[in-house]
Symmetry: C2
Subunit: 510 residues, 2 copies
């Protein structure tokens, strides 16, 4: 009945793999733990890049590019940072291969005197540059960004969600004082919120991570948390206020107006190709991906009903004319992206390919449409009425005039649908840890949609927080964040029974 | 007198380093052989990316992303390819660090069973994907592109020209037959010619590389050759027809219409951040970089003559209004990029910063300009009259109305200037090798501008070609390419005295 062989209800993880594969977004590569991002996945990432890059630049950041490889000694500088990252990283030890006994091997004579690490993140090498570039308060704030690949060795991989190599941007800034650096941390999180909600139609909850989930070396870590269709949470990007920790480790100082020397306050923040996985798990359905129109590589796809006959040329011309007119329009602040699919394949197969990829508007145009000057189309985000595919027909001029509006409406419908799901699946009313145990501890393997818990706590630290983590872990739960929007008053802590000081979200997570 | 401490005439290599540094384009990093690309250099690369990516997509290619790391065994498949590349590459041997005797080291227990190579180019791993994706003639042509970082270990580095890590795009395509693959090879070279000439104002000569300069494993390699201001040649991009060599090594086959199985014909082609170095050496002058307007990150920069007084606000508003109007315009097919520099620094220092970076139009606007409703500006490509800086003044409305035209004119002037230099410095009339020796063998160390030699040859192969290479190398020369535009008839070969069959270009090169 549906385009995929497995449904979300039957097996959510299998369904996810099926969408990634059938939508032609990515596949595993022969390099262990690394993915090949295919055309539709890469096009989606390019749209995210375009939108996010524009916002990053509009807010006064400039793009730089720093080396892929970082000398090992750099990781020894910030103690907490090493502790957090120094474990699973790809290490380059040789710079030459040699044929030894007929086999290609690392040349023993070409061993590096100091091993190089493939960047797992670039605070250390960018901090080193900051220490050279920043001399005076006039050099601050220094606000830069980098688009690149990074690598964190992962044993269990899942396309887009957890792979050894992935793509991201990393913002790095230095400021004269704490207030300016904190404002920057908040600005980055707000930019991410806009991209997630307005561009990817993914509703998110911004908030602060608990102490034990901070980025290694950070003073505060903030995240966006999004809800997947299986009720799990996915961290959709992070922004860190690093205080003067990295500045002290790397000697990032500046001379202020009065001639005194101070340490700069730094921040870092990143959004990754993981967002593609998030979009799939928020918007996909049993027919495949539903790509949010703002971010779809192709927003309107026309499949001409070609029949290998001379009349085909006329039909193709009709389709190309419509696409040419559509591509003069703007949608979501970018030129509209329409496309005629003239691949050598059966029209019905092509239509289903675009359904699985989730092109927002898919037009099937036959000779009758051309003769009547009309366009027949389906809306991917509202594909079916009951089990039947629902198609619409409009006069050509009306379709073109309404195209941007149709895309905007679809975008809004997708956001509203996801927002309703998020809001109606955050559960209150847990007064004790036993309440939480009762709710999440039963039917553990049923896969039943449980959503998130919103609870109050006394914000324990250190060993007490570790214990909270252990108790939650037994239920496969974790603290997601303390939402930025907090209530006016608090009850008692569900972990300690003490008066609570904060509201937090608890969930299973990717 | 001039903005740089060293002139082109005094010391061209030193001058080049000074431009890269003073224009804030790049610097060496603490990672040996790797560069940090700074804001103005990265902005320039982003403009090249934007233009080239648009052309690549318009001609039916889609972007993919393949793994950074390639299993060592992949390099053993195409024998000639290994021979050419298997030497200087970064080798990953471990996936974890461990603290051993208080020192971070590669964990001996985390040694990879098969070393991984940081891609020096991606034919092998993309070919492997092709062998899985291509089944039928309906899957062909398969035309894809990737933007990424690559690594080739280099001992002597020069910013943008030769570094261990650099950025590029690599196109990879598979075709049913030779004709289609050859057409693709030519198409890629033509796209590169357009980007070089129309976008970067760098005149180039397309042609075929001699047999001994082919990409390892290629049947034919084509290049664009550009002339630097010191008379040396720089290879400005390459396009390879790979025949069925890679297809045979990697089993890339398809079923044709009649059910037979054939090997696909493949191509690959690339353009790199080296183009930034080329643009500097073609367009730079003794005041720094002159950025071609089409590719300049900021095309029009306004420096308000702020004096730390209340009137500053009015002046800033005037400048911002002009920039807002300019940024509504289009130039070279993209939105125009104008900018007000309100950095906390002396206006004269800021003006010189933009001169050294080579912003095409630099406006210095003071209270008198604002009061008179006018714009005072300098054209970076025609900065001086004699030794004096030449400035221009236009009424505000005229400046805005003429802005696109001023940029287009500057672009054309820069191209024409470089084209004239190229054409007038290719020397004919070498009838024997002794002629060549006489010309290039004298004043070898004087640094005198010698340009290129256009000679006829009998296209020797194998050992005879090696000998030609050796003789040329003694004069520090090499064969650049056999231009696509060939004469109607040929004289005798300057190397062998035999009847010639081809015209080639000989030069010193980067």
């Amino acid at each position: 009945m549906h385009a995929l062989k497995v449904t979300r209800a039957e097996d959510f993880p299998e369904w996810y793999q099926a969408v990634v594969r059938e939508a032609d977004m990515a596949e595993l590569s022969p390099t262990r733990g690394c993915m090949i991002i295919k055309a539709w996945g890469m096009g989606f990432w390019e749209r995210i890049q375009g939108e996010l890059d524009r916002k990053i630049k509009e807010t006064g950041h400039e793009n730089y590019y720093f080396p892929l490889l970082i000398p090992l000694s750099f990781f020894a500088k910030e103690a907490e940072h090493v502790e957090g990252f120094a474990k699973e990283m790809a290490v380059v030890t040789h710079h030459r291969l040699k044929s030894i006994d007929g086999e290609l091997k690392p040349d023993p004579e070409a061993e590096l005197s100091e091993p190089l690490i493939i960047r797992p993140t670039s605070e250390t090498i960018i901090g080193d540059a900051f220490s050279r570039w920043i001399k005076s308060y006039r050099d601050l704030p220094l606000k830069l960004n980098q688009w690149c690949n990074i690598m964190r060795w992962e044993m269990r991989t899942r396309l887009f969600l957890r792979t050894a190599e992935f793509l991201w941007q990393e913002g790095h800034t230095a400021h004269a004082d704490e207030a300016d650096a904190r404002a920057e941390t908040a600005l980055a999180l707000e930019i991410y919120r806009q991209v997630a909600e307005d561009f990817l139609a993914i509703p998110v909850i911004p908030g602060e991570k608990p102490e034990n989930e901070r980025f290694p070396g950070a003073v505060n870590t903030y995240s966006l948390e999004a809800m997947m269709q299986d009720g799990k949470a996915l961290q959709a990007s992070t922004s860190h206020y690093l205080g003067t920790n990295f500045a002290k480790a790397q000697n990032i100082t500046y001379q202020d107006k009065d001639g005194g020397i101070s340490h700069a306050h730094t921040t870092s923040w990143g959004m990754t190709t993981r967002m593609i996985g998030a979009a799939i798990m928020v918007h996909g359905d049993d027919d495949g991906m539903r790509t949010p129109p703002a971010a779809a590589p192709r927003q309107i796809v026309i499949v001409p009903m070609l029949r290998g006959k001379p009349e085909d040329e006329e039909l193709k011309a009709y389709c190309h004319e419509i696409v040419a007119e559509l591509n003069k329009l703007f949608a979501f602040g970018w030129p509209l992206r329409a496309h005629v699919d003239i691949k050598d394949a059966r029209p019905a197969d092509k239509r289903w390919d675009w359904v699985r990829r989730g092109a927002p508007l898919i037009c099937e145009i036959g000779p009758r449409d051309a003769a009547n000057g009309q366009v027949t189309f389906i809306k991917r985000n509202a594909l079916r009425e009951g089990e039947k595919i629902k198609s619409h027909t409009l006069p050509r001029a009306d379709f073109i005039a309404q195209a941007t509006g149709l895309l905007e409406t679809a975008q809004k419908e997708m956001f509203d649908e996801a927002k309703t799901r998020l809001q109606s699946n955050i559960r209150d009313g847990f007064n004790t840890f036993a309440d939480l145990e009762r709710y999440y501890g039963t039917d553990d393997e049923s896969g039943e949609f449980k959503g998130w818990a919103r609870v109050h706590w006394s914000r324990p630290t250190g060993a007490a927080l570790e214990e909270v983590g252990t108790r939650l872990k037994a239920l496969k739960l974790s603290i997601r964040n303390a939402p930025s929007a907090q209530p006016a008053s608090y009850g008692t802590c569900i972990f300690t029974g003490a008066p609570a000081v904060e509201e937090i979200l608890i969930a299973r997570a990717y």
